[in-house]
Amino acid sequence: SQQGEEDPQALSIQEGENATMNCSYKTSINNLQWYRQNSGRGLVHLILIRSNEREKHSGRLRVTLDTSKKSSSLLITASRAADTASYFCVTKTGANNLFFGTGTRLTVIP
């Protein structure tokens, strides 16, 4: 399977702390995206990083991509209770091949 794998599977932190989650994948990619899913809801796109990029920022989000290690990380700074959700990495390997990881469940304790 080309599915990405997030690590850790679950993460619990205090409000105000930073949260880091990682994604590893198996094959070469065109781009990698991160999505958030609140409980019982659909997924929401957060950020996209292309294979020729190494780092990208969006507000409190920072994404890195290391294609040599086939891995990506998502950093959420100054976390808030509203950041509690599951986070998925999605890799694009071909024209329409998008593969979802199994997700990291983040809990931010107020």
């Binding site: 599915q3 065109n30 781009n31 995206q33 999505y35 019982g40 809801r41 659909g42 997924l43 929401v44 796109h45 996209l48 998925f88 999605v90 694009k92 024209a95 329409n96 998008l98 979802f100 990881g101 199994t102 997700g103």
Partner: protein, 115 residues
Amino acid sequence: NAGVTQTPKFRVLKTGQSMTLLCAQDMNHEYMYWYRQDPGMGLRLIHYSVGEGTTAKGEVPDGYNVSRLKKQNFLLGLESAAPSQTSVYFCASSPTGGSGANVLTFGAGSRLTVL
């Protein structure tokens, strides 16, 4: 602006029954997708469409059929429901695909239980 709307939100079926899930998007997106989400397995692609009148198989297409008669609608059908099809189904759309970015907009999901 509704985005992606899925109906119904919940459905309970008996084994062997058939049903259709409807997905509608108002963003004029070319690409539409149906995924299923099962615990511990992430989302898996069932079928997708790259434009009106086209459909293609994804990772787990068996037991499902789809149609895209109108650009804004993508229907997912279960011909003879099985307990293994108990899942949460998500529809998504994107303005581009192919060499583009495939940034997805998701619906809220449809929870299907097959008894």
